[in-house]
Amino acid sequence: MGKTFQKPEALTDVHTHYCPGCTHGVIHRLVGEVIDELGIRGRTVGIAPVGCAVLAYNYFSCDFQEAAHGRAPAMATGIKRVRPDLMVFTYQGDGDLASIGMGEIIHAANRGEKFTTIFVNNAVYGMTGGQMAPTTMPGQRTTTSPLGRSTEETGMPIRMAELLSSLATEGYITRQTVIKPKFINRTKKAIKKAFTYQMEGRCFSLVEVVSTCPTNWGMTPLDAITWTEETLLPYFPLGDFKTPEEAEAVSATA
């Protein structure tokens, strides 16, 4: 194989509908590369959410199902329970996973369902036009918090990786971002690790990716990267929150 830059086989050759400066494209590519590298396209089923990635099935070239808003983890559970040999991943945004689908993700994680979730957190509802999400920052203006998110009325942003890692069930829970090349490399490693745990039938895995939404943040793509770095990352710290190895170490010393 040459060293030409190519499209992963796991992605289709079509233009996406994502806005300029949005990082969904990068994340799609990373998932596609990982599927290629693990050689699992022929036994992978993706689950599209409702939100910006609702059409993800047009961009991946493996089997795909499309869920209702927030229900992807329940669908993934159904597939994985009846066909444990299939590799299953859900691709969900913050409105989908942290708001309407909070119940489904917590219970799937707690049952230790052996699928992988790519959780794209850009602190806003994208597809429906920039409404407030559970991950919207205090004071952040959205179409449903026009004066800025009031924490008195709506509480603080939910840190999903931390919340899910508090479950006693074994799992791989990590938070990454893709706003700089070094972070992109780390995100890819995390996604590969997540899929590998699934391949080994080991545990539930979730990679939260802090992402940008220049359109609904009302920023240029560059400003969006700066804002992510200065505002989102201090509140949503990067790193592994839980690994199955750690859990083993804990139980060995207990």
């Binding site: 795909f64 499309e66 159904g78 066909r83 299939l86």
Partner: protein, 355 residues
């Protein structure tokens, strides 16, 4: 196989296994929790899948995912639970996946009660979820019939790639009756390689499959709905099932009744016969598709003066009966839906009132 005495709910669980369905997802709710309890023990014995979901909402999508991946799957629930599943039922119908649902109806609305009712007729026959969809709905009148309908439901769901519902009232689930599981009703799951997300490697294909209900293009969505409608039209053509009782000769009144209620009506008809009053009955075994033609023909008999829709609801099926009778005869309704099943004496009284 010899007959054994079984509770309806347990027989329903066993029937699914005997039909060849080894995947069950559910959430406990009275009066059908015995199905989940039975299958929690039984599924592992047959290397099947049993999972208690966190809610009926989630269970709906577990079924959707499993059916989308090409596996046979079913659930059981009761009225408030079916309301929660109705979101998924709409998606499942839209995405054309075969799933079998059993609703052991309890009284409503809201929490209602836990006693038998037929108050979910509209929900199941007219569509409890959003959008233009239909389910094939079968209504058993005995535990034996529930067993047979469950067993028939899987190949039907696969034939139409559509959800099928068994609509039983609480009595069907709770009572014990002798049953046998007919071997000839076991069926092999249909081939699903042309649409299911069972993995490209599995079907040795380079083309991927999509299971979805989203059609953003208005023409494409209209075409999709026309395709769904053509399936529902085929069901109306080919799947109508009903039983006639005492309807061969002349009768003064025609009863339309289904499920447990129809058994009481049968007794009332026998007693009325002894008193010299002839009453015929059409018992729909499928409530969608509805036996319109049979009811219309029976109601059109010269001797028939009135048609009575007798149901454990405040008058739901009566609308379909009216549609079938098409004004040929007066159509009356009688029912109760607090959980008490009307007695034969009450039914006899009602019939006499209208003659």
């Amino acid at each position: 196989m010899a007959k054994i005495l079984m509770k309806g709910n347990e027989a329903i669980g066993e029937a699914a296994i005997r039909a060849g369905c080894l995947n069950y997802f559910a959430y406990p709710i009275t009066p059908q929790s015995e199905v989940a309890e039975y299958l929690a023990r039984r599924m592992p014995e047959v290397n099947g899948v049993f999972l208690q979901g966190e809610s009926e909402v989630a269970v709906g999508y577990m079924l959707f995912g499993a059916a989308g991946a090409g596996e046979r799957v079913f659930t059981t629930s009761s009225s408030p639970g079916v309301s929660l599943m109705s979101e998924a039922i709409s998606y499942i119908a839209g995405a054309q996946c075969p799933v079998v649902f059993v609703n052991i109806i309890r009284g409503g609305p809201g929490l209602g009660g836990i006693l038998p009712s037929q108050g979910d007729y509209f929900q199941s026959v007219k569509g409890g979820g959003h959008g233009d969809y239909r389910m094939l709905v079968m209504a058993p009148a005995s535990v034996q019939e529930a067993v047979e309908m469950v067993m028939k439901a899987f190949p039907l769901a696969e034939k139409y790639r559509n959800p099928v519902m068994i609509l039983g009232d609480g009595l069907i689930g709770q009572m014990m009756e002798p049953v046998e599981f007919p071997d000839h009703l076991r069926s092999d799951p249909s081939k699903k390689d042309d649409w299911a997300t069972n993995g490209m490697d599995t079907r040795k294909s380079t083309a991927r499959n999509l299971v979805k209900s989203l059609y953003l293009d208005p023409e494409a969505l209209n075409d999709h709905n026309l395709l769904l409608k053509s399936k529902y039209d085929r069901m109306k053509q080919d799947e109508v099932r009903y039983e006639s009782y005492n309807a061969g000769g002349d009768f003064q009144a025609l009863i339309v009744s289904y499920g447990t209620m129809s058994r009481v009506c049968r007794t009332a008809i026998d007693h009325l016969k002894e008193e010299g009053v002839e009453v015929g009955m059409i018992r729909p075994q499928t409530v969608f598709p509805f036996p319109e033609k049979a009811i219309h023909e029976a109601a059109s008999k010269e001797s028939c003066r009135v048609v009575l829709s007798i149901e454990m609801s405040m008058g739901q099926m009566v609308e379909d009966v009216e549609r079938a009778v098409l004004g040929k005869r007066p159509v009356k309704w009688y029912g109760k839906c607090g959980g008490e099943v009307p007695t034969p004496e009450e039914i006899m009284e009602v019939v006499k009132e209208h003659l």
